[in-house]
């Protein structure tokens, strides 16, 4: 075996705590280590094991397989659409069914295929490529999967029952409000997709924390594999990008269920608020999908060209540019809604500018190909397919960024063509490259020759045959989402051509799936590291074992060449001598080892939690709103049990991870993974709150039917309730600090109890305020105040639960001089509740005074 390619430009490590000089552990018998680790890390046997698994390899594989299943469903729906459009008077589907089918095609491909697919790839790959044994929050991985599966199932069942969403995948109001869609269809979308998005936010929190804290020792951010940077960008975008959609869905569902008018023009709402919230999610979403795919390209291209990537720093900068700029383009989906030209100008310029980082990457990849010796393996074919397709899609995207052209092409088949070029070119082709590239690691087998190439050509020809001509169809004036076009003979031929090639495309995808199945079942055993790749994901036996690495890489030796030393236990933390799932936690920037985290093992808790959350969504869907508090109580009861794992009653002894490296266990540390996860969750929560503030600002400035009618809130009684509420919240924040500081003394308990009582007082005061609100159905201002109050209630209640948890931790001896229990996380949530409530109060006072 020739040595894998080594990066020739090892950069200087980040400034930070100097990594101690680490020596290797003594070698052990690899087989003994393997058995020991397998016993601790693998899923339990049988069906129970499948339900209770929290292992990232199992969950990641499951995510990807389920996503492929939904891709197949979405593909079948697309064939129905093409069949309908093949002739101008297609009688194949009636309009009602056609509307459901194109809505479901878009929704499934976006929310049930693309996002879960990238989550699955990230969950499966990240620990392997970063040199870790699992994701930071294994139970959260499993919870995300079950939420995805249950939510997707609800949506799928609605299709079978004939009550699927039918308002288009972006669900514009007023078409999707209660007046114009009286049925359950829109509720299925809003509730089902929000249920699924729980998994997206969970994955975003988990990916962020894993990349920042669970890398190999000494792997500074500046020399992390590019895939890490890409997924860090993705997860950061998901943390900020999904909350607008979740908020929009909540608002629309509340409008539909209870008549609160956020989007109803007559009562101070504005349908454009929905468009803003939707596209504030929707455009970053495109880059959320593209970044992991580009990460796969940046990983695969240098390996298959036997070289290193060109311009590491430039690519990281390009990722940075994409992550931020993509939040400044959302209005380009709204160029025709009547926004002033200057505002369009901002977004038009940002839309064009976002092409620059993309171009930097494309040229870096071509330069990499030039500097290396490219080999035409199957993944490389898909890479070339990506180049051909994505460059065209990107350029039509630039064309659409130009306002006058957009006014002509918007909502036509031209846009349909563009988005398929970008999404299939920029996501599906790279994902197929990634699947074929990592298949040996997934299945442990080599592929069957030639079948994959045939699938590739069918897909490439089918794709361009279908969608290239659609640009023309659009320029000929064919709008999106029509089912018949009897008066337009000029659209007949291009549509027929698209339909014929669409079937070729579908056959290609079917052949691709067939090829993967054959490889999994009949392929010959693959040798280790078949591509001679340099990254850590190949420094393990094939298929990947449940624990990934028998010992974790030493600083500076985190490449595929370390495979044997790692298997012999010469790295950090060899085996599982304590019978625990142990992982290394590092400093975010430099990668210096900080402590050892013990991860939870197999458990049914995630499944039970997802089931209780699902019961809440089903009750909402059924309109049984009075029963939903039961579901909420069930969620709290199940959620309470998640904390049981997170404490211990004695100070555990530090662990010798390698000669010269003794690390504490996470129970005795403050900056734990859980703490980082809470911070990441609060970032998403803060984004949701910011979107809510945007909604208030937007409606008060832009919506017709403002100013709102006289409010009944401007009384002394209001202040009499609001002031104690804020004071109680401030006291609770103080209590959280004092409790943590005095955790070893008797005063700590008193402070914790003070925090609980203060939270209760705040809750009662908020309830009093709720009684004084004007009828939220009267005007959007009152409805938004109701939501602000609901937000405060939710967070005060959550902080109260953490306070109660902290008190229980103290009572049960789970806190001590070194152990902090739930106190640090309580403090985070308590401060967030205080800050947001204060801002909300100031906002309402401002509305009353101004």
């Amino acid at each position: 075996m020739t040595g894998p390619v080594r990066p020739d430009d090892l950069p200087d490590p980040l400034p930070g705590p100097a990594a101690p000089e680490l020596r290797a552990n003594p070698p052990q018998r690899a087989l003994r280590l393997h058995r020991e680790l397998t016993r601790v890390w693998s899923d339990a046997p049988g069906f129970y094991g499948w339900l209770a698994s929290v292992n990232h390899t199992s969950i990641g594989r499951r995510f990807m397989a389920t996503a492929c299943f939904f891709f197949a469903i979405g593909g079948v729906l697309s064939m129905l659409i093409r069949a309908q459009l093949a002739t101008p008077r297609g009688a194949f589907l009636d309009s009602a069914l056609y509307n459901q089918i194109f809505t479901m095609h878009g929704s499934i491909m976006m929310f049930l295929f693309a996002i879960p697919m990238l989550e699955g790839l990230a969950l499966w790959l990240l620990p392997k490529i970063l040199g870790a044994r699992d994701m930071a929050f294994p139970r959260l991985s499993a919870l995300g999967y079950w939420c995805y599966l249950f939510g997707g199932t609800i949506i799928l069942i609605s299709l079978l029952a004939g009550v699927a969403p039918d308002g288009g995948w972006f669900m514009y109001v007023p078409l999707s409000d209660k007046t114009h869609t009286p049925g359950i269809n829109a509720d299925v979308w809003l509730l089902g997709i929000t249920f699924v998005e729980i998994s997206a936010v969970a994955a975003a929190v988990e990916i962020t924390v894993t990349i920042l804290r669970c890398r190999a020792a000494g792997m500074a951010l500046t020399r992390m594999p590019l895939m890490g940077w890409y997924l860090l960008g993705t997860s950061g975008m998901m943390l900020v990008g999904f909350p607008p959609l979740i908020l929009g869905s909540i608002l629309l569902e509340v409008e539909r269920a209870f008549g609160w008018p956020f989007f109803d023009v007559a009562r101070g709402g504005d349908p454009l608020l929905w468009q803003h919230l939707f596209w504030l999610f929707g455009h970053p979403e495109v880059y959320i999908i593209f970044l992991p795919a580009a990460g796969a390209l940046s990983t695969i291209i240098p390996v298959l060209c036997r070289t290193t990537i060109l311009g590491y720093s430039a690519i990281v900068a390009a990722i940075l540019g994409l992550v931020f700029l993509s939040f400044g383009l959302w209005v380009h989906h709204m160029f025709t809604v009547g926004i002033p030209h200057m505002a369009l100008g901002f977004f038009s310029a940002a839309s064009a500018l976002v092409a620059v980082p993309t171009a930097v990457q494309v040229f870096a990849w071509i330069g990499t190909i030039r500097q290396g010796r490219p080999q035409l393996h199957l993944p490389m074919l898909y890479v070339l397919g990506f180049f051909l397709t994505f460059v065209m899609g990107g350029l039509t995207g630039v064309m659409l960024a130009i306002v006058p052209f957009n006014w002509q092409a918007h909502d036509t088949a031209f846009v349909t063509a563009h988005l398929h070029y970008v999404l299939i070119g920029g996501f599906v082709f790279p994902m197929m490259a990634a699947l074929t590239y990592w298949m040996p690691l997934l299945s442990g087998r080599e592929r069957i020759p030639r079948l994959g190439e045939a699938a590739f050509w069918l897909i490439l020809i089918g794709f361009h045959g279908t969608f290239f001509i659609m640009h023309l169809t659009g320029l000929l004036g064919m709008p999106r989402r029509i089912d018949i076009y009897p008066d337009n003979p000029e659209w007949v031929l291009p549509n027929l051509i698209s339909s014929i090639f669409g079937m070729v495309l579908s056959i290609g995808f079917a052949l691709f799936a067939f090829d993967l199945a054959l490889q999994w079942i009949f392929g010959a055993r693959s040798r280790r590291n078949p591509w001679q790749a340099p990254t850590l994901d190949w420094a393990m036996p094939l298929p990947a074992p449940a624990y990934n690495f028998a010992s974790l890489p030493l600083p500076g030796r985190d490449d595929a060449g370390a495979i044997l030393a790692l298997a012999r236990g010469e790295g950090i933390l060899p085996g599982a001598p304590r019978g625990w799932r142990e992982v290394l936690v590092v400093e975010p920037g430099s990668g210096a080892p900080q402590h050892i985290a013990v991860l939870p093992g197999n458990t049914l808790l995630p499944l039970a939690t997802a089931a209780t959350i699902g019961s809440f969504f089903l009750l909402m869907l059924a309109g049984l709103y009075a029963l939903t508090p039961l579901a909420l109580i069930a969620i709290v009861l199940v959620g309470w049990r998640w904390g049981a794992f997170m404490g211990c009653r004695q100070d555990p002894a530090p662990v010798k991870a390698a000669p010269g490296l003794v690390l504490p266990l996470h129970w005795t540390c403050r900056a734990t993974l859980a703490h980082a996860g809470a911070v990441a969750t609060l970032v998403a929560d803060g984004a949701l709150y910011a979107c809510l503030l945007f909604g208030v600002g937007f409606l008060s400035v832009v919506a017709p039917q403002w100013p709102a009618p006289q409010s009944g809130l401007g009384t002394a009684l209001t202040l009499l309730l609001a002031l104690p509420c804020l004071l109680a919240l401030g006291l609770a924040s103080l209590a959280a600090r004092r409790t943590e500081a005095l955790r070893a003394e008797a005063a700590g308990r008193r402070w914790a109890l003070t925090g609980v009582l203060a939270g209760l007082v705040a809750l009662v005061a908020l309830a009093g305020l709720a009684l004084m609100l004007d009828d939220p159905r009267r005007h959007a201002r009152d409805a938004l105040r109701g939501v602000l109050l609901g937000f405060a209630l939710f967070h005060v209640a959550l902080a109260l639960i953490f306070a109660w948890r902290t008190w229980c931790d103290l009572r049960d001896g789970r806190m001590g001089p070194a152990r902090r229990g739930a106190a640090p996380v309580w403090r985070l949530w308590q401060d967030f509740a205080l800050a947001t409530s204060l801002v909300s109060a100031l906002l309402v006072i401002g509305q009353e005074v101004l």
Partner: protein, 192 residues
């Protein structure tokens, strides 16, 4: 713009083929690719394009210059237009819009129920009809004749059939309004 896009696509693909064929030669410096091509090529092209877009966009903005004004009101699933009639007084029509040739006109677009979108492909431009607000587009019809118009924003069951026509007449020669056509709409316009 189409030709430019095609040329750039071709350029990238030729560059790719060239790199493939001549690969393994000297290690090119990263800056040539990322800075030279990634920034040097794209930024000027994009800046020029966006600048041109701003200029055209400014030119076609509606202004207060006393141009002819017509209105369009969309509903599920049909259009109501008002325009100056033969005697200059406003006339209301269903699914047919009458405008003079060669004169810029402003069209005020709104909707009564859900969001629709006014689009006459041959006139260019497109403007959404949003309940509660009035959007104005400036359009100019070139020569007399009949143009097809349609609803470009998905608006429910009758979306495909929500068509209308634009009759462009010689200034001063207002055609006879066909009341039968306008009352019933075009075939299918009142469909489910």
């Amino acid at each position: 713009m189409l030709a430019g896009a095609a040329a750039l696509t071709l350029f990238v693909l030729v560059l790719l083929a060239f790199s493939w064929g001549r690969s393994g030669q000297e290690a090119a410096t990263g800056r040539v690719w990322t800075l030279g091509l990634g920034l040097g090529l794209t930024l000027p092209v994009l800046a020029a394009l966006v600048g041109y877009g701003f200029w055209v966009g400014e030119r076609i903005l509606p202004r207060d210059d006393g141009a002819l004004r017509v209105t369009a009101t969309a509903r599920q699933w049909g259009w109501q237009f008002t325009q100056p009639g033969p005697d200059g007084r406003p006339v209301t029509t269903e699914n047919v819009l009458y405008v003079p040739a060669g004169q810029p006109f402003d069209i005020e677009i709104t909707a009564t129920d859900v969001i629709h979108s006014f689009w006459v492909p041959r006139l260019g431009g497109k403007m959404d009809a949003v309940p509660g607000r009035i959007n104005v587009a400036r359009l100019t019809a070139g020569t007399p004749g009949e143009l097809e118009g349609l609803c470009a924003e998905f608006c429910g069951l009758g979306h495909s059939a929500m068509r209308f026509s634009v009759i462009v007449y010689e200034p001063g020669a207002f055609p006879e309004i066909d009341q039968t056509a306008t009352a019933a709409g075009r075939d299918g316009a009142e469909a489910p």
